[in-house]
């Protein structure tokens, strides 16, 4: 009995004080009632992406970020290079204004 109380108290303390542990699980075994804890298997770094609800990540199936943003970045890159070449042409006297 003392053993069971000690074991229960230990398990509950792990649940209460360790935020990585989730709810305790009761199982029956040959020796009787057994209380065990489920270790946290949900470290955020190992979580599958679809389980993440983070707002600091780009959503996976977003038209804006999958198509529009890369197209805009490419187009703006082209325009930037064109403007730089124009300014260089003015400096070198190739383009007269």
């Amino acid at each position: 009995m003392t053993y069971i109380i000690r074991r229960f108290t230990y398990s509950m303390s792990l649940v209460i004080f360790n935020k990585n542990l989730r709810k305790p699980m009761l199982t029956h075994s040959r020796s009787g009632l057994k209380i065990s804890t489920i270790e946290n298997q949900l470290k955020s770094a190992d979580m599958p992406d679809h389980q993440k609800t983070s707002k600091s990540h780009i959503p996976e199936s977003s038209m804006l970020f999958e198509k529009i943003v890369p197209a805009l970045l490419f187009f703006m890159g082209i325009v930037t290079v064109t403007l730089i070449l124009f300014a260089a042409g003015v400096l070198l006297g190739i383009i007269h204004f």
């Binding site: 943003v69 930037t80 403007l83 204004f97």
Partner: protein, 271 residues
């Protein structure tokens, strides 16, 4: 008042708010990129204000502010702030020195040209961006309606020119492409690069959007300035206003604090 007389006032108001916002962040965090952004934005705002003033009246010193800060320097100083943000190396301080010396030199050249300004051609009926530069009239072409022409000697040849406020061949006009190239590379290139990095890593979507908006805003004013050089100065004021709005919006977007990662718990296994 025409639309070209009203737009610069709106641009000035937006740039004033933007400049105060950025400089406030500098005084809190003391990061050099905020200082250079703030100074560059203040130059942009000064240029907008000078345009607004010149749409109503002439002043040679307001024209000085318009050309030096609005046309020549502001892009380079804003872009230099982006360089400080993205590159944490000592050589950036050397580039700072070059920028400061170059800016002072451009100011000196502008002061030299002040006594030679052709104020007689100035009119409030046209934007200053359409009348600031003296251009050689190519043989066989006719001057636009209302343009004043003159005959002068340039590089040993008699040429017909369309008169502008700055005399033909002013050295200060040759400094502008240097500053603009540097500003394009650092400001636009830096914003595009930052947006690409965050997009590739699939993180911080607000910074992706913010940097896209900043790059778009800078390209707007860069394109409008280029068109001005080609003789289409009527787009400059609209370009400035759109640029101010986009860059301010982009900056606010990118500067938003990030929410914490919220991992979702898998349901506990049931036995």
């Amino acid at each position: 008042m025409s639309i070209n007389q009203i737009l610069p006032f709106f641009s000035t108001a937006i740039m004033l708010g933007f400049t105060i916002y950025v400089l406030q962040r500098f005084f809190i965090r003391r990061a050099p990129h905020f200082l250079f952004w703030g100074l560059g934005l203040a130059m942009f705002g000064a240029g907008s204000f000078a345009e607004a003033y010149l749409s109503l009246a002439w002043s040679p010193w307001v024209f000085f502010v318009w050309y030096l800060f609005g046309a020549a320097l502001n892009a380079a100083w804003i872009g230099h702030g982006t360089l400080y943000l993205l590159v944490r190396k000592r050589w950036v301080h050397v580039v700072t020195g070059v920028l400061v010396i170059g800016s002072l030199f451009a100011g000196f050249l502008m002061l030299q040209v002040m006594p030679k300004l052709d104020a007689a051609v100035f009119t409030t009926s046209k934007p200053v961006s359409e009348q600031y530069g003296t251009k050689v009239l190519e043989a066989g072409t006719t001057a636009p309606a209302g343009a004043q022409t003159a005959t002068t000697t340039y590089r040993g040849e008699q040429v017909t020119v369309i008169r502008g406020l700055l005399p033909l061949g002013s050295p200060v006009r040759l400094t502008t492409p240097f500053f603009n190239i540097y500003g394009l590379l650092t400001l636009v290139g830096g914003a595009i690069w930052s947006a690409f990095l965050f997009w590739r890593k699939r993180v911080l979507p607000n910074r992706v959007i913010g940097n896209v908006l900043i790059a778009a805003g800078a390209l707007f004013i860069g394109s409008a300035s280029t068109l001005t050089r080609l003789g289409y100065g009527q787009f400059l004021y609209l370009g400035e206003l759109v640029s101010a709005i986009l860059m301010f919006a982009g900056f606010r977007f990118a500067a938003r604090p990030q929410p914490e990662e919220i991992p979702q718990t898998a349901p506990a296994a049931a036995d």
